[in-house]
């Protein structure tokens, strides 16, 4: 199948025609690229749309689910993982994708993030990290680099950013990967692996916000910021050759965690069996 044919088939099959496009994102935004990678990943896995739920919180990234023809839910700020936990528990057979921004997942929803990872419940979290609160106009977020300017950091940002991968790893996630919106194929591959993983999986999709943080910090246009993702990111094997200081200025891409830990809803099924056996035994 020609590439254009494949793309138009994906459009027809996965995008909601009753929803009037265009989308809410600024021209040049990376969020649509992540959505494209998710749709292609789901297509690659040949999942039935009825079996896929896409749940989001609030913010630019939170607006993603409404455009795609799955079971979609746009919840409250930071709570998408908690909503998804309830759904996954009663419908463990469904593939539940949780789409969050960095503020959504790590600030207001940070507690839910570490606890969902600790439980290792079978949710696929995709964090679009644009280093800022975009929808409200470029305030600093938990991933904003130290020293950067933001509309709420007019004198420069003094906090350290959360390392998303390390946080997910330490909290107990079964699968953790990172790529960027420049590396579309790699991002798609990691999303496929994440959805396929039985436990709690995290994919950090590094993006940018050219209309807020990019403009304030004079980081350039969307293409220029995209080029920086290409030039400034390295694989894990490349990272190993660098010392810590050199590495800290780079975006390291790759799969950082892929481990087998019993998944929560499967463990709960055992609880049910135990409870029912105990009841029969009296």
């Amino acid at each position: 199948m020609r590439r254009s044919d494949r793309e138009s088939r994906l459009h027809d099959h996965y995008l909601r025609h009753s929803k009037k496009f265009p989308n809410v994102w600024c021209a040049g935004c990376g969020i649509g690229i992540v959505l494209g990678a998710i749709v292609r990943a789901i297509d690659e896995l040949q999942l039935h749309r009825d079996d896929v739920a896409m749940i989001s919180g609030i913010g630019c990234t939170g607006r993603m689910p409404v455009y795609v023809d799955f079971n979609t839910m746009h919840t409250t700020h930071g709570r998408a993982l908690a909503f998804a936990t309830g759904l996954k528990m009663v419908r463990p057979d469904m593939k539940v994708l949780v789409i969050m921004g960095d503020g959504d997942a790590l600030a207001i929803g940070g507690n839910h993030f570490i606890h969902a990872a600790r439980r290792n419940i079978g949710l696929t979290s995709i964090i679009v990290n644009n280093y800022a609160y975009g929808m409200t106009g470029g305030q600093y977020s938990p991933t904003t680099p130290t020293g950067a300017l933001a509309t709420t950091a007019p004198y420069g940002h003094i906090e350290q950013p959360f390392p998303v991968v390390e946080l997910a790893k330490a909290s107990g996630a079964a699968f953790v990967a990172r790529s960027t919106v420049y590396h579309i194929k790699e991002l798609q591959k990691y999303i496929v692996q994440a959805i396929d993983k039985a436990g709690f999986s995290v994919v950090e999709a590094v993006s940018y916000c050219h209309t807020t943080l990019g403009r304030i910090n004079k980081w350039g246009t969307a293409p220029q910021m995209m080029r920086r993702l290409k030039e400034n990111s390295i694989s894990q094997s490349q990272a190993e050759k660098l010392d810590e200081e050199e590495r800290s200025s780079k975006i390291v891409r790759g799969v950082f965690v892929d481990r087998h830990i019993p998944e929560y809803t499967q463990l709960y099924d055992q609880i049910i069996k135990r409870a029912q056996a105990a009841e029969v035994a009296g």
Binding site: S18, N71, M73, R79, V90, R91, M94
Partner: protein, 386 residues
């Protein structure tokens, strides 16, 4: 001492929190998410034991915000779902209560009230969350809140809460009190076969035709759980009939109207109350309106007053939200004095005053963590009789 009652085989000594858990199970609840908090923790403990026995699911979440979120998620997945908390946790749940109202997701939120504000007194009773149950979440919205006055009524109203939430696609708040939650009483629960359980409304249209938020066939459109072939969008934003976000006033107005009407048109179903009127209906001087545990104290006081010659009518409200305006108006017809005893500084009294006017309404309030005693209400009745 009165003679012990004849032994009933199914009689049991039960705590209010336990009756709530049993009521939930009887109503068909298969999912509970919660966070430990006095005086509601027993509900979670019991359901963690009993839900898996029937194939249901229990989870202790990281906080009350997550608890209600998980409950809403489970309801979207097709389960009848509940959470239980007390004041501080109820405060944390407010945003997601609004979400459930906006997205019209059935769920039950139990608030076993304790003294507030803030941490207050965790083991002391209160009716301090009455207004919070009505207006705790932001924005104009309908809500249903029920108030049990006994252990048995806790069982009954928990079932009713589930039934209303499914029937009207709305979060229903069961407003218990510490004194009800922790009190043990003799109860005889009904035969499970006789209990009415509201099933979720099913759609009759194929997926392509399904609109989750249209006023068809009634003001309460059927809600299809996720994963059954009806792929649609749920959002806390204002939305059109398909659930897609909208800014258009012409799409928002019908939603607002339906939200109001789905409750207003069904008041005769939703408003639960009991009247206990003076046998001799002429010359009734006083009406006492109460709810929750205070309704029992008040009833006792009313009977004491009647024995002493006062002419008193009594109205017990089980549904406190929506407020039973017409019921109160009707009950107070021709009566000059209306007494509203509450274990707060006067919350539902504000509603009674709104309906009947301030001149006719006399408040009896206690908010120190101890229960109102019959004598305190009796004193008010007698003061106003004179």
């Amino acid at each position: 001492m009165s003679k012990p009652k004849k032994e009933e085989p199914n009689a049991q000594l039960m705590q209010g929190d336990e009756a709530c858990a049993e009521g939930a199970l009887a109503a068909g609840c298969t999912f509970f998410a919660g966070y430990p908090i006095t005086p509601a923790t027993e509900i979670a403990e019991i359901l963690s034991l009993k839900l898996p026995q029937i194939g249901g699911k229990f989870i202790e979440m990281e906080d009350e915000i997550a608890s209600l979120a998980a409950v809403i998620g489970a309801s979207v997945g097709g389960a009848k779902a509940m959470t239980a908390t007390s004041g501080p946790g109820f405060s944390l749940m407010q945003e997601n209560i609004g979400y459930a109202v906006m997205a019209e997701i059935p769920c039950v939120i139990v608030d076993v009230q304790r003294m507030g504000p803030s941490t207050g007194r965790p083991t002391r009773t209160s009716q301090g969350d009455v207004m919070q149950a009505r207006w705790g979440t932001h924005g104009d919205h309908p809500i249903i809140a029920l108030c049990p006055s006994s252990v048995h009524e806790t069982f009954d109203l928990t079932i009713q809460a589930f039934n209303f939430s499914e029937r009207y696609r709305i979060p229903v708040i069961l407003l218990m009190e510490e004194i009800i939650g922790h009190m043990r009483e003799r109860v005889v629960l009904p035969d499970p076969a006789t209990i009415e359980r509201e099933a979720r409304l099913q759609t009759t249209v194929p997926p392509d035709w399904y609109k989750p938020y249209e006023n068809y066939p009634t003001d309460v459109p059927p809600m299809v759980p996720f994963g059954q072939g009806y792929r649609y969008n749920i959002t806390g934003l204002h939305h059109d009939v398909r659930g897609y976000p909208t800014d258009r006033p012409d799409e928002i107005r019908p939603w607002l109207r339906r939200m109001r009407l789905k409750i207003e048109r069904s008041l005769s179903d939703i408003l639960l109350y009991e009247e206990n009127n003076q046998q001799d209906e002429d010359g009734v001087e006083i009406l006492v309106i109460a709810y929750g545990s205070v309704a029992r104290t008040a009833h006792h006081a009313v009977e004491m007053a009647r024995k002493r010659g006062s002419k008193v009518n009594f109205l017990k409200l089980q549904t406190i939200w929506p407020f039973a305006e017409e019921v109160v108006e009707h009950a107070a017809e021709g009566i000059n004095r209306v007494i509203v005893p509450e274990m707060n500084l006067g919350q539902l009294a504000l509603e009674v005053e709104r309906v009947l006017g301030r001149q006719r309404v006399h408040r009896v309030n206690k908010a120190d963590g101890t229960m109102l005693r019959p004598n305190e209400i009796l004193a008010a009745i007698e003061e106003w009789t004179r």
